[in-house]
Point group: D2
Chain length 370, copies 4
């Protein structure tokens, strides 16, 4: 539990913000997948700090090292260890956080649960914990690419500033052509959001926002009924990212305001191929994919680390105030995009591997190959 997730494709992370390393063990990876550190590094670089005006200035190279599970360029089926060394771990004095709980941070919860905590930079609850997830996501996405599955993940809104309705091709084009530091696939929206963030930063404040992840190329028939519905597992995975306060699939909350006649996705057959006239379901019905794009949205709260003064309490139960100085992202979403994508990839691959055994004919086909 807790630091391990998955049924067949199993991910286990470790590490604190200011520990020696942050890393992951990924088990249950099919053998024969071409993999090396460059592939993983490309994923990690997407969440790298210091890459923009809107990200923490912590100076970390975040260079990944793979210590097992890959041999002569291919996965062997044994667990893959990947980690990043925390170089910048001693550069800052966190003594002021030793005795005090930052509002809307994990500090108080950890203290109540364990009675002890590594207070430096958030310890285990630091965003650096996601490095392990992203490395795992890189492995999962590489496997999924072998099946023709692709991800498109972007910032849908920051504060109240949202992108207009765009089709996925436009989004993909904009992201590749005008890649910006906020992950917003629309130039005008990017400018508005930048101005909004610049202003908040001046006010020692921070913003929330929404990430959207679209998965294409997923065939119908994957996911599980009941407790492991694909949407339920995606919700779990994305909600396990710090600062997420809501997860939607397809049209999400809007579905609750509509009617059945509006919301139902009519099926239509063209040349024997089943498709849908709309995709309000976000590619999942009854917990199982229907062959249309899987659409996941995550709402992130504003970065709780703000430099303006806040009321809080200390370990002895006394009232005090805190100003959280230092390097903090004014908005979490842009750097979290690859984390959302990674968690989605991890879950989707696991469900596909589980799904190989759904029919006895498929079991027999593979068994007879051995």
């Amino acid at each position: 539990m807790s630091s391990t997730t998955g049924n067949i494709f199993k991910v286990t992370t470790w590490g604190e913000s200011h520990g020696k390393t942050v890393g992951v063990v990924v088990d249950g990876v099919p053998s024969g997948i071409a993999l090396d550190e460059n592939i993983v590094q490309a994923f990690l670089d997407r969440r790298k700090p210091g890459a923009s005006a809107y990200a923490t200035k912590r100076a970390e190279a975040d260079t990944v090292e793979i210590c097992s599970g890959v041999f002569e360029g291919y996965t062997t089926g044994t667990p893959i260890e990947m980690h990043v060394t925390n170089n910048d771990q001693i550069s800052k004095n966190y003594d002021n956080l030793r005795e005090v709980f930052r509002p809307s941070h994990a500090d108080y919860g950890f203290f109540k649960k364990y009675g002890i905590r590594d207070h430096r930079g958030g310890g285990r609850s630091s965003g650096r914990e996601t490095l392990g997830r992203v490395a795992a996501g890189a492995v999962a996405a590489t496997a999924l690419a072998r099946l023709g599955i692709k991800f498109l993940t972007y910032t849908k809104s920051i504060g109240s500033i949202s992108i207009p309705n765009l089709d996925y091709d436009e989004i993909a084009r904009c992201l590749s052509e005008n890649s910006n530091s906020l992950g917003i696939p629309h130039e005008d929206t990017y400018k508005s959001a930048s101005a909004y963030l610049d202003n908040l930063m001046r006010e020692k404040n921070s913003a929330g926002g929404v990430a959207e992840c679209v998965v294409t190329g997923v065939k119908a028939g994957f996911g599980s009924p009941v407790f492991d519905k694909l949407d339920a597992r995606l919700a779990n995975a994305v909600f396990s990212i710090g600062a997420v306060k809501a997860v939607e699939i397809g049209n999400g909350i809007a579905a609750a305001r509509g009617t059945g006649a509006e919301n139902n996705d009519a099926f239509v057959s063209k040349g024997g191929e089943v498709s849908k006239k709309s995709n309000n379901s976000g590619g999942i019905i009854g917990g199982i994919t229907d062959g249309t794009p899987v659409i996941i949205r995550a709402a992130f709260k504003p970065t709780p680390s703000i430099a303006s003064e806040q009321d809080t309490v200390n370990k002895d139960g006394g009232n005090t105030t805190i100003c959280i100085e230092g390097r903090h992202d004014p908005v979490i979403v842009p750097r979290a995009l690859v984390v959302v994508e990674s968690m989605a990839a991890v879950v989707l691959l696991d469900e596909i591997l589980v799904g190989l055994s759904s029919r006895i004919e498929n079991v027999k086909t593979i068994y007879n190959r051995f």
Copy 2:
């Protein structure tokens, strides 16, 4: 996976809409809890069909039978089997659904996954599957009550019609005094929602809505970091209920639009007791409870079974149309309230049991009692 969930408190359900029984095995229940069929029945009655104008007319007594794990009125620590017999299972002819997939239902996904399906009444994807969950929820809630933990679950909105801001005492009072068939804790809102539903039913249409569950009496320090964050597990559990398209914790999606200064919950200490000036976090920080009420919201899509004509396809890939006649709830939320509450109870109890071992001193205390 799939039909089993939980780490220590483990829930396994079985059953199809028109199978012989629908039921559950609940394992890992602490011994010594007073339990009998009346306690469980009271939970099941809250989701009973036929109880209102706004619920399916299927005639089921849904009388629970407990076959193991309870001895002389107390739980023994061994698995508790509970089931309900499907009496009404042969009353309807479902042959028209054998070859065709209902839009926005689970039919197509199941068929693609398994190549075979029990088409009668939705089979395994029927709402009747939740009977097992609710029986498990009754056990969990009974255990949690021993710890002083209580649930308040109600309909927050139907379509665009929402209750006003109310404090939990008002909600509780209204629910107990004016209990209505829609679970709406506000008389005027109930009337508007009724009129809205009456109209939709005349139009052979259906509505969506939002359920809210508030859990009080939860001490700080329960839940887990990383993948098993309490909010992530609650999201998973609630999202695993059919028709849910979004889950929010605390202020949820609204958090994404606010700023850090607005959204952060300042801590305050009164007489050594730590509390918060606001509860935007919904009682959970860093995946762990903070001692304030846990707030969960679930958005349900409109009932996909509508009597008006819809386009769809059949098993052979041909285009066709369907009108789903028969007994169907025009809105899912009211009968789903107890399911949301049950899933929340199941997860919360499991996390509390897991949390007993968070500190070596607590481990030692219990060990020395043996």
Copy 3:
């Protein structure tokens, strides 16, 4: 945990000796397997009480009922519920066991763990709990038969009386031609063992023995490295049967006395087919099958229920004596044979299903079929 086992093919049992029912939920069963109650009943009949002079006289029909997961004669991929009703549950007065712990029974352990126990007939620790396992084993064995995998399970020894070295064909022939009540595939050994048991029964004593299970038709490449080695999982599964005190794979304990030169199984290739000159490994190397028969042996202690007087203690810690009258098998092995086979089948099927994803090429083949 505890009452659930398996990764993909998941088995959950419930029930006490004198509860209403004893049963099982089997999840993760591939769809499309022909299954009905007759198939399962044939397995259950192999452990049926009252079938011989050497088995308890408890009068139970043990008729299985399937309540879900099978539709029109085929598995659907959804959980299969199977149970047996305890008809004979009130026929005996167990009040004398309420306050006293039977030596070498589970009573004392259960009491210390839970502080409460269903003392009637052993409660949850009764051999009747294995009914659920055997029903699950019937499902697993039916699936495995589709892959060409077969089981041969027999009594290898009772007390110090063992069968001679026989090849598997002789054993299979003897079992089918001269099926006896002790499951001993050798006529002379059966006669000696019968005489030995007759004598012990007169002395109000009981015997131990060894069961052997040989699985043929298993291809090489199934099982997992490290913690889920196939032999480790088989050991776990078989050791989880009451009264088992040792499990051996292949030559087992004898291997510890031999040398490497004697014990190693040389590989040999005939026409491209790899085989081994000996099978000391029992078909498993490094936790993975090698294509030769899997050989499992379980040592059962003597039935602890004996009618002669024994020293023991009661709930209040006082010294007392007990004579366990009533219907008890004088030796556990014969009726446990099908339980051993069932547990082996459950584990083997699960490992085969997990193993479908071991190579990306196999993943791709199945994925592209969807």
Copy 4:
């Protein structure tokens, strides 16, 4: 699965013989346990190669590094990463093993499962994989020591040479006073075994043997009924160590030859304290501890790596021969003792943590402390 084990106390290992590192992530460790690298190193040193004439000469310091989960000398409750760097990884040419399968090694199984393998030094199936297990065992044993639980693990036999019957105090005294390279707690037996091994080494042969682990200080009431019986979990854990071919609990296989009157352990009460007149059960009844020492025995096959010529096959299915030169332990047992102890500690701690929730009164006691 596979490389992760445990319910609450979860252990995940990674690493190949000639990969960069071999290590482990241990999750679910209670906070507040004093822990540092010296404690873990002391465990690792017990399995260190090169320490005796009877162990491989591979030159590895096996110095452990802890990268997370410990803060200021105490466990924090978050995952503990521990690893050892493989310094000696490139010193040997393994090209001769690339195409050929060593008899009774894991090579062939891995190849059939994954189609690819790291052939250097056994890759994932190397004994070096147990470094992670032992590090985890050090953590578990440290936690168990806080509860008064101790381990005594020794070589019971090598080949046919066994120690005489000794009581545990004698064994402990002999091990501490005359610690020898074979872990045999009896001077004369050690001499005979040494002579036996010297002779086998001259003949390019190897020996098997039996390890015994006795756990004292375990209170009654821990372990679980049904599938997670403590003996079943111990059997699984110990059988997951390479080369183990049998596991016994208590009197093990001997139980199968005895009678109920001989084998049953009579209870006796002295001053209110319940004990047993014998301990044939090995401290476990019905899968749950009974307060007497837990006794586990593992039979190890002879080291399969022998320098004399053996028949085998290559990857292309051709017949060939192999002589396995190089550094290999002539008997596995002595260095495996700490591995057996570690696996026992890991399982026992996990079951104790799970067992904290067995009674609602205990749940309430801890909950009210938060």
